[in-house]
């Protein structure tokens, strides 16, 4: 029997009197992509940050099944272990690529940083791996020594993905990876992501407000509204037959093309 790779139990986070997310329970299975959808301010990003150990929830806990050391409680780990996990077994793709990239360093250094952090000390090898990943995310090799500041929004986002995947993570957290990109660039990025998730057998938690993105990438959906999970289910099923009033409204508000 397989165990879930990530398991949340009763995760609650408050900011003063305001509840950002309340009693969230779910299991994420290996190879699964879970979408969290909902409107702005519904607590999606806060939940994601709690799951990734970037915020400490007020109640509940998050268990992660490591590659070799059994199950760990994400928030009880010493900071050193948690940061090590975050840069080896996990990835985190930010909505704003500037948060996830080192803007002052070249693309090659951005991709190589994780490798160097875990002890790679051969310049030639690091550069080869970086070139390899740049090709994989469809960026020309002539851009290897350019800084991300000279990249377009879509390229930055792809670079951020390469930087995260270079250490072969098992679990990737994504916060609106396609936000702020125009539709054609979005489509390419989605295509790329779908291919990568597939070929590396990644598990992922994806936060988005775009049901189109959710339909393309995710296997299962959780709908958040005002800090609560109001509905969960298989993506296709939910989009075709939403049960909760808020989900119905959300599905109904997709613009027909």
């Amino acid at each position: 029997m397989t165990t879930p790779i990530l398991s949340a139990k009763g995760v609650t986070k408050r900011f003063g009197g305001r509840v950002a997310c309340r009693g969230v329970n779910f299991d994420l299975w290996p190879g699964e992509v879970l979408g969290i959808v909902g409107e702005s301010g519904s607590g999606k990003t806060t939940l994601l940050n709690c799951l990734a150990g970037r915020l400490i929830p007020d109640e509940g806990h998050v268990a992660y099944e490591t590659a070799s050391a059994g199950t760990v409680d994400v928030h009880r780990l010493p900071e050193a272990r948690r940061r090590l996990l975050a840069r080896t077994e996990w990835g985190f793709v930010h909505q704003d690529a500037r948060e996830g990239l080192r803007m002052g360093a070249s693309a090659g250094a951005n991709i190589g940083e994780r490798l160097m952090a875990i002890g790679a000390r051969h310049y030639g090898d690091i550069r080869r791996t970086a070139s390899d990943w740049l090709t994989r995310v469809e960026i020309g090799l002539d851009r290897l020594d350019d800084r991300p500041a000279a990249y377009s929004g879509g390229m930055r986002q792809r670079l951020q993905i390469a930087r995260n995947l270079v250490s072969n993570p098992r679990l990737v957290f994504m916060d609106e990876p396609t936000g702020g990109l125009d539709v054609s660039v979005q489509a390419r990025l989605l295509d790329l992501l779908r291919g990568l998730v597939d070929s590396f057998h990644l598990s992922a938690v994806l936060v988005t407000h775009d049901l189109g993105v959710a339909r393309l990438l995710t296997h299962r959906l959780m709908v958040m509204h005002g800090g609560d999970i109001v509905e969960t289910g298989l993506t296709d099923q939910m989009l075709d037959d939403p049960q909760h009033a808020y989900t119905q409204m959300l599905v109904a508000s997709i613009l027909p093309v």
Binding site: R83, A109, G112, M116, A117, I118, R121, H122, Y123
Partner: protein
């Protein structure tokens, strides 16, 4: 100048021995002890206002003041030279407030306060080298947040330092950093060796002398105890290298010392001479004899 200092040993009237008051010296010594116990770790201390501006050696002068005693012999160098304004002023300062003997000869000194160089002459057991440090944090240019750099040191997360070396190779084809070249001390902390040329980095490794580093503006003290390993960071396929010159010193003919390039006339004619004036003079005296 009547030398009242050497007579009563108590500064100029109101000043305490070695300028700083005893409590301050005690506090600095405690910081030094901690720094020696954890090689390469930056220990905060309550830096005082000194009678010279920040950037002129306030950190080094406070460390020297805290460790100096009547039996010490002090040498002060600035860019290797004993006769520059900064070196002369600091040497005279301590002669006046601490009544110590001063020297320009490396082997006679018990304490050597230095800016930007390590003497060419090998140091011995029992000598103390005091560095003046402008920016103690080696990660500062890569990570501006102090809280974050402290975390990185605490967790030994030094990937970002390697990133800066990678960038240098990607841009220049080699590690182009020539001074303040980052080192790993005792296999644990990354340390900024103050702006000494990387030529001097190998001298820090397993040096018999105690190395103390004082940063006055940033109020940090760190240390490398005698015979501690100090490794310059590099890549396997781009190993650490020191500067080399095709010329030799125009005055003493040395091919092993760090050379300063001087332009001597309007047509761009240049000469190379040793930056370490004491080393150069010793060699010239030896040749004359």
């Amino acid at each position: 100048m009547p030398d009242t200092v050497q007579q009563n040993g108590h500064g100029e009237g109101a000043y305490n021995y070695a300028y700083l008051d005893e409590q301050t010296k005690r506090m600095i010594r405690r910081a030094i002890l901690k720094a020696v116990a954890v090689p390469g770790y930056q220990v905060p201390f309550g830096g005082r206002e000194m009678p010279l501006p920040y950037g002129w050696g306030t950190g080094g002068i406070q460390v020297t003041a805290a460790i100096i005693g009547r039996d010490d012999t002090l040498k002060v160098i600035d860019q290797g030279a004993d006769d520059t304004t900064n070196a002369v002023s600091i040497r005279r300062f301590f002669a006046r407030v601490a009544g110590v003997a001063t020297t320009t000869r490396t082997e006679e000194a018990t304490i050597i306060q230095t800016r930007h160089r390590v003497p060419e002459t090998s140091l011995k057991d029992g000598q103390i080298l005091v560095f003046q440090v402008p920016i103690p944090e080696p990660l500062r240019m890569l990570e501006p947040r102090e809280t974050e750099t402290r975390t990185l040191h605490a967790l030994c997360e030094y990937g970002v330092m390697q990133v800066s070396l990678y960038e240098s190779i990607a841009r220049h084809g080699r590690i182009a950093k020539t001074y303040n070249y980052p080192v790993l001390v005792n296999g644990r902390y990354i340390m900024s060796p103050s702006p000494i040329p990387k030529f001097d980095n190998p001298k820090l490794d397993r040096n018999p002398a105690l190395q103390l580093y004082g940063a006055g503006r940033e109020k940090r003290i760190y240390a490398v105890p005698p015979y501690t390993s100090v490794k310059s960071l590099d890549f396997e396929d781009h190993p650490f290298e020191i500067e080399r010159w095709t010329e030799c010193c125009a005055l003493c003919g040395s091919t092993e010392s760090f050379l300063d390039e001087m332009i001597v006339d309007d047509t761009g004619k240049r000469r190379f001479i040793c930056s370490d004036t004491d080393y150069c003079q010793e060699r010239q005296d030896g040749q004359r004899r």
